[in-house]
Every structure is written in structure tokens, then in C-alpha cells.
């Protein structure tokens, strides 16, 4: 029996680094400190055991060798004029690097799961920058915590305990009692039920509410109507007073802002509010990133290509324009003529029209698990699980890089090995 202490959790962007894992005969038998999400992933489920292929997507898969599957994957990418390489969030940075190289060599568009998550936040950061801090600073200092359009009780279960609400910090010895918690949401979530103040906004009105807060903060309360987005002016004025009274305020935001009608403009406005609050006191803002290494893909893609995601290599040099080059844009326009889905599940998390396009074209899936993407795939290559069976680099939601530890030995090839072999095969097909 081996006991691994201080292991990192490969589920959400919190990257909790205090797990204890018990391993017996290369099997994980017990986990301590993980939440329900982390435990479910680390304990594992039914895996795809061998590579599979089929020509017709309505027929059954046939098991094949890794060599056959890799050769077919390379042939699909080699033949494609407009390939899409999508996913990446459940993989390590070392995998991202290989993926970006492959995208460049086959002239693909490479995009990650942020495209249906926090990519609009990146667009807003281009416009306004990001006054932010590490979760450690927030734990040690924040006395006002705001969750806007995010529900950590469900999506990041240990965030409040470790960093933002209940955690005791160097300058916050009282933990929960020393922090005022505000939740802004369209419905009273379990997170809202735990808050000191809940601001309920009408769906799609966040931009208006943020604008009203900025007007009140800048001394123009007179232009604010009696109610904005369903929130009484009086409550907004009280909220501004609470925000200004903080010694160190931290705002966390989620899909309530990125997926609502104004998309990245919501975040743009929220960052402006934070910048303006910094004229009075210290404020920071942090996106609640979903997958454990979705932040890492943005980092690697930025240093390799200059852009965080939705990078188009069709012209040889990297080109970036979400709205034109993001995964759903190209699928919806039926431009994509082949796709490789790796460490992400477009079949489950893209709108029906995008999945219909995936069903029309050759699809390669690289993933440990059978999921809706498998259902529309032609070539399926199972791999080891990053962060459980493979060690490497991941970035926490606040941009801190951490080393994921190996808990058990892999029984299948890693994503890096598979991507290297596909790239070598593509080069061979090109006669290099």
C-alpha cells in the first residue's frame, strides 16, 4: 500500500493540492480531502480499453491496434482542408504544446473548452486588462467576497473553504466572520443562500446592473432609475457602500456573465467597475475557471502563438478572431471538414447544430472515456488520464502553475505519445 500526500486534484480550476491518495496494487482505493467532483474523477469509471474505428457513424465500432488508429487519424488530418483540433482542458500543458505543433503542421484551427466557458473573459481582458491576485492573497486578505453569476457550491465545492469565504488567512484570522459575502445571480442558488447579501438580477440584465453600480460609485446616482434589472436602486446604493468599505475586495465571476446576452461586454464592464473601485480601496477580479487545466491551455497557446485560443493556422501564421475562428463558428458555418476532439467533449457541450456538423465529417477522438463525442467519431484512441496516471504542469484558475502528481502507473499510452505519433505519421504522408 502506498499513501500519496499533498496530491493535486485534476477536476476543477481550484486545483486543490491537499489530497491524500491510497494506492494498492496500482489501484486507487481511498481518497481524503477531495470533494464529490474530484473523488468521482479520481476513483474512475468504465474506460475505453482499446482503439476503435468505423467508416460509417451509424455502424458499430471495431477494435483496432494503436498503429492502425494513429495512421487513420493522421490520414484524416492530412487530407483535411479545414481541420479543427478541439478540447484540451482535461490535459496537461505538455499535451497542449504537442497539440499546438500538430495544429501548425496541418494548418488547423485549435480551440479549447474555454470557447463555451471563459473565452469571452479573455476578450474582455484584451480590452481592459485584469486587476487580479492569487487565491493565496485573497485567502489572506479579502474581507468582501462577491460571486457574480457563479455557483461554487456546485461547480467549485472547496473554493469557499480553501480560499474565499470560510478560509482563515494571515490577515483574516476570523475566516467566515471576517468576510462579507455577496452573491449576484438570476436565481437563489445554494451559494446565494449562504451569502450575507443576495442581489437577484433579471436574466440578461447584468450589464445594466454593473453600469448602475458604476454610475452610483462615480457620484451620478441621480441618473440611475428606481429599479435596474429588477434590483431596487436603494439596494444598489447599499451594495456600492459595502464594496467601498472593503479593505480588500475579491470578485469571482462565472458563466452567468460570459454566457448571457452581452457576453464579453459584461466582463468588460465588470473589470471597469473593479478598476474604478481601486480608486477607493483594493479590489481584484478572478474568473471561476471550470476544468482543472483550461487556464493552462490559454497560457501555452499564448506563449506559443501569441493568442489564448481559437487560433487559425490555415494561412501558416497564427490568426485569431473569435466569432470567426472559434470552434462553434466554424462548425456552424460547416467549414470544418475534419475534427480531432481531445480531452474535451464537444458532443456533449456544443449546441445541436455543431454536433450535427461533427456527425457529417470524419472525427478522431482521443479520450479515456466513452461520451457523446464517441457517438459521432470514426476513430477513437483511448489514453492515460492526465493528473491521475500522468504527471505534468497545470495552471490554477488564478494563473499559478502547479505540478500534477502521478497517482498510479498508466496502462494505456499518454496523450503526448499519441500526438507525437500522429505528427510523425502526418510528416511521413507529406513525404518529409
Amino acid at each position: 500500500m502506498t499513501v500519496i500526500t499533498d496530491a493535486l486534484c485534476p477536476f476543477c480550476g481550484c486545483l486543490c493540492d491537499d489530497l491524500t491518495i491510497v494506492v494498492e496494487n496500482n489501484k486507487i482505493t481511498d481518497i481524503k480531502n477531495a470533494c464529490k467532483l474530484g473523488s468521482a474523477k479520481i476513483m474512475g469509471h468504465h474506460r475505453i480499453e482499446a482503439p476503435m474505428m468505423r467508416a460509417d457513424k451509424k455502424s458499430e465500432f471495431k477494435e483496432v491496434s494503436y498503429e492502425e488508429a494513429i495512421n487513420e487519424a493522421a490520414a484524416i488530418l492530412f487530407k483535411s482542408k479545414r481541420p479543427l483540433l478541439y478540447g484540451w482542458a482535461s490535459a496537461l500543458c505538455e499535451v497542449h504544446k504537442k497539440g499546438i505543433l500538430l495544429a501548425e503542421e496541418v494548418g488547423a484551427i485549435i480551440d479549447n473548452t474555454a470557447t463555451v466557458c471563459h473565452a469571452p473573459s479573455t476578450l474582455a481582458v484584451h480590452e481592459k486588462g485584469l486587476p487580479t491576485a492569487t487565491l493565496g492573497q485573497i485567502k489572506n486578505r479579502s474581507d468582501v467576497t462577491v460571486f457574480w453569476g457563479s455557483n461554487p457550491v456546485h461547480a467549485h465545492p472547496r473554493h469557499m473553504g480553501r480560499y474565499s469565504v470560510f478560509a482563515k488567512g494571515f490577515f483574516q484570522e476570523k475566516g467566515r466572520k471576517g468576510r462579507k459575502v455577496i452573491v449576484v445571480d438570476v436565481r437563489k442558488t445554494e451559494t446565494a443562500a449562504m451569502a450575507d447579501e443576495f442581489i437577484q438580477v433579471q436574466q440578461g440584465s447584468d450589464y445594466l446592473v454593473i453600469s448602475a453600480l458604476r454610475a452610483i460609485l462615480s457620484g451620478h446616482a441621480d441618473v440611475v432609475p428606481e429599479s435596474v434589472g429588477g434590483v431596487p436602486k436603494e439596494q444598489l446604493a447599499k451594495l456600492v457602500d459595502t464594496l467601498k468599505a472593503a479593505k480588500f475586495g475579491a470578485v469571482f465571476f462565472g458563466m452567468g456573465l460570459t454566457q448571457s446576452i452581452s457576453r464579453y461586454k459584461n466582463i468588460d464592464n465588470a473589470i471597469s467597475l473593479i478598476t474604478e473601485l481601486n480608486a477607493y480601496t483594493k479590489y481584484v477580479i478572478t474568473p471561476m475557471r471550470g476544468h482543472y487545466n483550461v487556464t493552462g491551455f490559454g497560457q501555452v497557446c499564448s506563449w506559443e502563438t501569441g493568442f489564448a485560443t481559437a487560433v487559425d493556422f490555415a494561412r501558416g501564421a497564427p490568426y485569431y478572431n473569435p466569432g470567426e475562428t472559434a470552434a462553434n463558428d466554424v462548425l456552424m458555418r460547416k467549414e470544418t471538414d475534419a475534427a480531432m476532439i481531445i480531452a474535451g467533449d464537444a458532443g456533449a457541450h456544443f449546441p445541436a447544430d455543431s454536433v450535427r456538423q461533427l456527425a457529417r465529417i470524419p472525427v478522431i477522438q482521443i479520450d479515456p472515456y466513452w461520451n457523446p463525442t464517441t457517438e459521432v467519431s470514426n476513430v477513437v484512441i483511448p489514453v492515460a488520464i492526465c493528473g491521475v496516471e500522468v504527471a505534468g504542469t497545470a495552471y490554477r484558475m488564478d494563473g499559478v502553475s502547479l505540478q500534477m502528481r502521478k497517482m498510479v502507473e498508466p496502462t494505456l499510452p499518454t496523450d503526448v505519445e499519441v500526438l507525437e505519433r500522429i505528427t510523425q505519421r502526418v510528416r511521413k504522408l507529406r513525404g518529409e
Binding site: K36, P157, R187, Q203, I261, N328, P351, A352
Partner: protein, 125 residues
Amino acid sequence: MTLNAILITGRTINQGATIENKTSLDYQEATALCELNSKDIGLLGIKPGSQISVKTDHGDVVVKLKENNGNPDGMAFIPMGPWANAVVDPDTKGCGMPGFKGIKARLEPTDKKVLSMKDLIARYK
């Protein structure tokens, strides 16, 4: 009775705990559902656990009804996943992000069955 609602989608703890196990019944039970408050459920005249048809301008899907009194009147919530994505707005509004929240939906009781993940995706082939 038809209930007009605004649909949002998003994460839940059970959706997350079954996300790597999407062929399981647990995943279907965690995500093939639509949450309404008890007042809206009363308007539909059916009980939680019954099947409900969700139609939007972008598609239709059958899921199970669930009570959540945190929802304001006229708000429907379906956990993110293939059932929700059968009816969300694919328009990325020029910034790459489809419309996963704020979709006009028409909700009706139905006797139709909830499709399994495999049968749901088979509709696209």
C-alpha cells in the same frame, strides 16, 4: 397547458460528479432534467419527476421535471449537457460563445420518453 419560460443552463454538482461517466444512467438522471419553481410546476399541472417537453426556436427535447424554488417565476434551468444543448441558441453573436442562457422556451407536459444519451446523439447522424 403551455408554460412560456426563459431557459438557462449551467453546472450542478451531480452533473459534475458524473461528467466522466456519460454513458451511465446516473449522468442521464443528473442532466436530463428541467428545474422550475413550485408555482410554475403548479401551472403545468404535473408533478416533479414527470416528463416535460422543452421546445425552443432551436430544437426540442424531453426531460424530467424537478422542483427548485430558488428559480424566479418563469425561469427554467437544465444542467449543461447534451439534453440542454438540444435546445440552446447556437448563435455565437460574433464572439465565439453560443447562447447557453436566456433562451425563450415553451414547456408542456408529455408522455414521450426521455431519450438516452446514445439515442439523443443518434438524432444528429
